[in-house]
Structure formats: structure tokens, C-alpha cells
């Protein structure tokens, strides 16, 4: 019953948004070069179906590659950084500094190193996505209650045993929460890189469409990006609920 209600309201609002958009475009006679109507965009998706699917798959693969890299590196670095509060405090400023560099700015450098194509896109996706993962895992580790640490140490627990039995499980809610954010960021990274330095992918498709003034196709690209983004977010949201169910209820909320 409750589940139902949770779906009804967002669905109504989403549909309402597109209906309003459609009506506004028609009533105000907005030029298709400025803002196409949703129906025109859907028609464009239909018309360019196979091309869009090809480029979407390319973007999806790029995003996933960057994301998987980000998960591996983020987890490892997060554990390293979170292993001791001293390392955490020491390394944090550098990490925040590096992270505040706009990732678009590194694409030209990646192009110099690796040429145009998939590699810079994967690396851009990776470089944006790994940060939230690392920070969350590290935070999950350093915020362990000191009393709990005392209990474990008084039992003769080694550092690695504390990490394995308590630290890692405890940081899992932080980790899974970060995946939702990271997948979106990886996606942004790969699309941005594709628009600048690639000859395939949704980002590339949108650039060429815009060069041809095919505005509906540009928006079709946006639609596809939004749909893929929502899909991936939902996937990780469900995964998070499944895996770390214990952190989502009652007053034991960890995140």
C-alpha cells in the first residue's frame, strides 16, 4: 500500500511536467530551434533509433569502465586513508584540492597523453567518480566509535581484524550511498569528454547534431542521458537498500 503511494506522486509529477512542456510549446508557438516539444523529441529518438542505441552503448560502456575503475581505486584508497585518523587528516586537503579542479580541464591533457577516443572518456569518468567513493569509505572507517575499538582491542584484535570484522561492514552503507552519486558523476565525465574529444558516444552525437542544427536530436541525446542516469541511479539505490538494509531503519541510521 505504502509502496504504491510512493510511486504514484512522482509519476504524476513527471508526466505532468512533460504535458506542461508540450502545451507551453504549442500555445506559445516556441520555435523548434529554441525548444522542441517532447513529442518532437520522441519522434526524433524514434527516427534515429539505431544510431542513438549505438552511441548510447558506447557511452554506457565508457561510463561503466570508468565507474568500475573508480570503485576499485576508491575502495582501496578509502581504506588506506580511513585506516588511521592521522592519514585521514593529512591527506584530506590534497584530495579536496585535486577534486576541486574542474574535470573538463583535464580532458585536453588526457588527449595529449592518450589521443582522442574512449580512453580519455573512461579516465575522465573515473577521475570524477572515485572521489565520493573514497571519501565515503574513509569516513565510514574513521567514524568508528572509540568504545567499540576499545572492546575489540581488549580482546586482542589486530588492526586488520578490526578492519575486516567491523570497519569494512560498517562503512558499507557509506560506500553504497556513494555509488549512487558516483555513477552519475562517471556519466557526466564520459559525456563531457565525448563532447570535447571523441568520435562516438552520446556526447559526440549531440555535438554533431548541434553542428547540423538538428535541435530535436540534441534534445533526444539529453533525454537518453537522463533516462540512462535515472536507470543507473535507481539500480544502485535498490542495491543499497538490499545490501545495507540494516542501516536504513529504526534509529540505527548510519548514513
Amino acid at each position: 500500500m505504502k509502496e504504491r503511494k510512493n510511486i504514484v506522486i512522482p509519476t504524476t509529477i513527471t508526466i505532468g511536467f512533460f504535458v506542461l512542456w508540450e502545451i507551453a510549446c504549442r500555445l506559445l508557438h516556441i520555435d523548434v530551434f529554441i525548444l522542441p516539444q517532447p513529442s518532437t523529441i520522441v519522434a526524433s529518438i524514434w527516427q534515429h533509433g539505431s544510431v542513438i542505441v549505438d552511441h548510447s552503448l558506447q557511452t554506457f560502456m565508457t561510463t561503466m569502465l570508468g565507474f568500475v575503475l573508480a570503485v576499485v581505486v576508491g575502495l582501496l584508497l578509502g581504506m588506506l586513508v580511513g585506516a588511521s585518523p592521522a592519514v585521514y587528516n593529512g591527506i584530506y586537503p590534497i584530495m579536496v584540492g585535486l577534486n576541486s579542479i574542474p574535470k573538463v580541464a583535464i580532458v585536453p591533457i588526457l588527449v595529449i597523453w592518450f589521443g582522442i577516443g574512449t580512453v580519455p572518456a573512461v579516465l575522465t569518468a573515473f577521475s570524477i567518480a572515485f572521489f565520493p567513493i573514497m571519501v565515503n569509505v574513509a569516513t565510514g572507517l574513521v567514524t568508528m566509535e572509540p568504545e567499540l575499538k576499545d572492546v575489540l582491542r581488549s580482546l586482542g584484535a589486530t588492526k586488520s581484524k578490526i578492519l575486516w570484522k567491523v570497519g569494512i561492514p560498517r562503512s558499507m552503507p557509506f560506500f553504497f550511498a556513494s555509488l549512487k552519486v558516483a555513477i552519475g558523476m562517471a556519466f557526466i565525465g564520459s559525456v563531457v569528454s565525448e563532447t570535447i574529444a571523441s568520435n562516438s558516444g552520446i556526447g559526440f552525437l549531440m555535438m554533431t547534431a548541434s553542428a547540423r542544427f538538428d535541435v530535436p536530436l540534441v534534445f533526444a541525446g539529453l533525454f537518453v542521458i537522463a533516462i540512462m542516469g535515472v536507470g543507473m541511479y535507481e539500480f544502485f539505490a535498490v542495491l543499497e537498500k538490499r545490501v545495507t538494509f540494516w542501516a536504513q531503519r529504526g534509529n540505527e541510521l548510519v548514513v
Partner: protein
């Protein structure tokens, strides 16, 4: 100290210790010139104003924090690293939310070297040990519940069980019932007394509740405000098992009041 059999009966011997945190300007002297001697199987309560170094005392006895001066011996051996023979419980139950009550209790066995070695082989046996403890604390029916499904008092029972499952010879309790309501707290006094009577560990209980100290302890130490030193040592010879009736007797009240007088005296200066 020689006992009647001629052996040494000092299980814990603390001689003139200073406990210090921080360095240089930030140095805090938490405990000074404290000496205590604790027999094997004795139930000791430590009371004193907040911040007087009660928790620090537990930390040096368990070997989690070094002393600056003096000596701490457990079973005749100088404590220089975590002693591994102790169980601990705190005001905050610190249960692992991803584990059931039973698995939370088993955690100690997964970590304590003596048990961890055979954990997989003796899983059945260990589970039975844990269930037995859970039944003493009145939680058999809640063994498969997660911490968020348990009340504060129940969580504390699980925490006590986790502290005792590996049969530690030393149990260190830091205000374990401090966050509970009065009724639950008094229930847990009975639970703790029962555990102690059955398993007979040596207990050091830190509390700010004088009734709790008198109800549970053989010996009550009163600490001064920081830096903590031992102001007095009082033996409580009320027969056991004690129960709620005991707490209404004049004998009980007199002891509580005399402890209270010792605590408020230095504060009045």
C-alpha cells in the same frame, strides 16, 4: 598480600599510578597517586564526580592506555599491552547493527585468539554457549533480532553477554546502565549480579549511581575530583544475592548516605 593458603591473592595490583593525556601544554593529569588492590573474583565499584578519571582507570587496567608513573599488575604481571583476558561494556552498547543479537555475542569469540582458532569447527558449541548466556540475561527469544529491534535495556544485555562469552577473568564496565531508565536499570542490576554469581569474574564497575554501587559491589572506591585519587575504600558486607528489597533496608541506605557524604565533601570546598 598473603592469603590463608599462602598464595598471593592480588588479582589486580595498582600502585601509585598517574594517568596523563596529551603532551606539553595540553597535558591533562587524569588520575594521580591512585592505589587499589583487587582480589580475584571481587566485585569492585568505582564512583566519583564526572571527569575524575574513572574511565581512565579502566583503560590502564585493560592495557589500552599506559600509566605515566607507578605500576599496574594483573595476575602479577606488569600491564604493557592489552591484557586480552578482559571483557568490556560501556554506556553505549556499541552493537554491530548488521548482526543479530546472537552474532553480536559471538563477535568476541571470532576475535579472541583462544576461540577464533577453532571458530569454524566449533561453531555449534559456540552458538550454544552464546544461547546459554542470552538465556541468563533473559533474551533467548530475541537471539535472531537485530539491534534496532531491541530496546535500550535489551541492547545492554546483549552487550554484557558479548563482554562475557569468552569467559574473561576480568570484566570492565564503564557506566553500563547510565543511559537507561530507572526501572530497566534496576532489572539489569539483578541480571549483572546473576551473571557474576554464575561466572565469578573479577569486576570493576564504574558508575555515578551510588545505589548501584552498593547493590552490586563487594568494595566501593570513591575517587576525588580530577586529578582522581582514591578518597576511600568501603566494604559492603550485605549478604547475597541482593535484590530490590535489600535497597529498602536501612542498612543499605546508611551505606549509600555515607558514600554520598564522602563525595560531596570535597566538592563543597
Amino acid at each position: 598480600m598473603e592469603d590463608a593458603q599462602g598464595g598471593t591473592s592480588d588479582f589486580i595490583s595498582i600502585r601509585g599510578i598517574d594517568v596523563v593525556y596529551g603532551e606539553g601544554e595540553n597535558e591533562v593529569l587524569a588520575v594521580t597517586e591512585a592505589s587499589l588492590t583487587i582480589r580475584e573474583g571481587e566485585f569492585v565499584a568505582v564512583v566519583g564526580p564526572s571527569g575524575c578519571g574513572k574511565s581512565s582507570l579502566l583503560k590502564v587496567v585493560s592495557g589500552l592506555h599506559p600509566v605515566r608513573k607507578g605500576s599496574v599488575k594483573v595476575r602479577g604481571e606488569e600491564v604493557v599491552r592489552p591484557v586480552k583476558i578482559c571483557g568490556m561494556a560501556f554506556q553505549n552498547a556499541t552493537l554491530l547493527p548488521w548482526r543479530t543479537a546472537l552474532d553480536n555475542v559471538l563477535l568476541s569469540l571470532e576475535i579472541s585468539e583462544d576461540y577464533a582458532r577453532d571458530f569454524n569447527r566449533k561453531r555449534r558449541e559456540y552458538r550454544e554457549m552464546a544461547m546459554e548466556l542470552l538465556s541468563i540475561v533473559g533474551l533467548v527469544d530475541f537471539a535472531s533480532k537485530f539491534p534496532w529491534e531491541l530496546s535500550g535495556g535489551m541492547q545492554q544485555r546483549v552487550s554484557l553477554s558479548r563482554a562475557l562469552i569468552h569467559q574473561p577473568r576480568l570484566l570492565l564496565l564503564d557506566e553500563p546502565f547510565g543511559a537507561l531508565d530507572a526501572f530497566t536499570r534496576e532489572d539489569l542490576w539483578a541480571v549483572l549480579q546473576r551473571l557474576w554469581l554464575e561466572l565469578r569474574p573479577t569486576v570493576i564497575l564504574v558508575t555515578h549511581d551510588l545505589r548501584e554501587a552498593v547493590y552490586l559491589a563487594d568494595t566501593v572506591y570513591v575517587f576525588s575530583p580530577r586529578p582522581g585519587r582514591v578518597l576511600s575504600r568501603t566494604e559492603i558486607d550485605i549478604p547475597r544475592p541482593r535484590n530490590l528489597e535489600t535497597t529498602f533496608e536501612t542498612d543499605f541506605h546508611e551505606r549509600v548516605n555515607s558514600l554520598r557524604a564522602q563525595i560531596s565533601r570535597p566538592a563543597a570546598v
